[in-house]
Symmetry: C2
Subunit: 241 residues, 2 copies
Amino acid sequence: MVFGAVLAGGKGSRMGNYTVPKQFLPAGGKPIIVHVVEKFLVHPEIDYVIVGVNPEWLQHMTDIVEKYLPDADRLTVIAGGADRNSTIANVIEEINRISGNDDDIVVTHDAVRPFVTLKMISDNIRIASEHGVCDTVVPATDTIVYSDNHEFITDVPLRSNTYQGQTPQSFKVRLFEKVYSEMTEAELKIVTDACKMFMMKGYPVYLAEGHVSNFKITYPEDYKMAQIFLGDNVGVNENDQ
Amino acid sequence: MVFGAVLAGGKGSRMGNYTVPKQFLPAGGKPIIVHVVEKFLVHPEIDYVIVGVNPEWLQHMTDIVEKYLPDADRLTVIAGGADRNSTIANVIEEINRISGNDDDIVVTHDAVRPFVTLKMISDNIRIASEHGVCDTVVPATDTIVYSDNHEFITDVPLRSNTYQGQTPQSFKVRLFEKVYSEMTEAELKIVTDACKMFMMKGYPVYLAEGHVSNFKITYPEDYKMAQIFLGDNVGVNENDQ
């Protein structure tokens, strides 16, 4: 089976004064996370959707599902873990309860990227089936620089080889289990990105084509842009700069 | 003296069907580049502003200045070169005609980043004065990945050390001349970024604090966002996604 996993563990600390995590903020008449879940529910190749949510917000998410997705029968909300990879591990436990086949695939996606397209999801499923694991990326627009002292630049990588990672990130469930079980506690503390974990353990992560419009809602500016794209009539003026 | 240099050599190939380069597109009642030039003209520490523009668009830019900035007497428009660094070299020739002091500083800025702040310009001047060269950056929001084969990821750098380069990029004029003269033709073909050139020649490039709102207008979505921030009432609907 092919599973969609919507990862909503975040608490939105960079979003300023909002009292709920950003994935629950409204845009286009419903919480952002509902747009994301809907993209997966309507996708013809996705058999089931699992939402992994911060335990403190489990009831809130359950209420949202009852209100906005009352007829969704291929949808489960579960408590996530302390970090992204442990949330994925919880999702996979649930996958094994529902299916448990050796060829199960999971397409994991940020709850705050509502502009994922059906084609990105299809591409992810195809590439993960063929290669085991894939990441959705776009060529970097800005020049990327490094500073390991945070005072001056210590390296500038070649721009044409540089990509910005988005999501979905997709993989075979059995492969995630194998790789995750090989990680030490110390490694898990450092490596918060699933794809980086696969790489550490020697599995090449293949590229799926993202798009600049599949941006992550991180800052208030992003939220405003998402509202506008979803048809909200929000006031914006020069003072907001 | 302290010079502002607005770099407008680009032709905007990623902007779709527009017939003028993106820096000349209107937003908030005037071309984007006018917003940028104004930020430098009003800055109390900037003595003079030089706009380096693609030779094909020199007359167009001159017309824009006559129309929107008729009273600007500390502003010159010159023809840029074949690439960014040769445009900067042309700007520096002009600086030497106007001033030619050994402590001249130039704050170079993209013509398509209209949301630069006066504080960013001040910080650039201070840091370039102290350290010789600086680059404006923001911590990377997305995870950055590399692929030197464009098929699978070959490296994922540590996110906390990763920044997205913006502009301004600022430096002492004499230092640029020294470093530029040391570059071979082969090196100049590869290195299109001024800061990377300084690094190649052993000069540490210091960090100035940018902001996510100081984004570069690259894609139609960015242009729409710029229009909205500048108060235009543009229609946006879900079909634009």
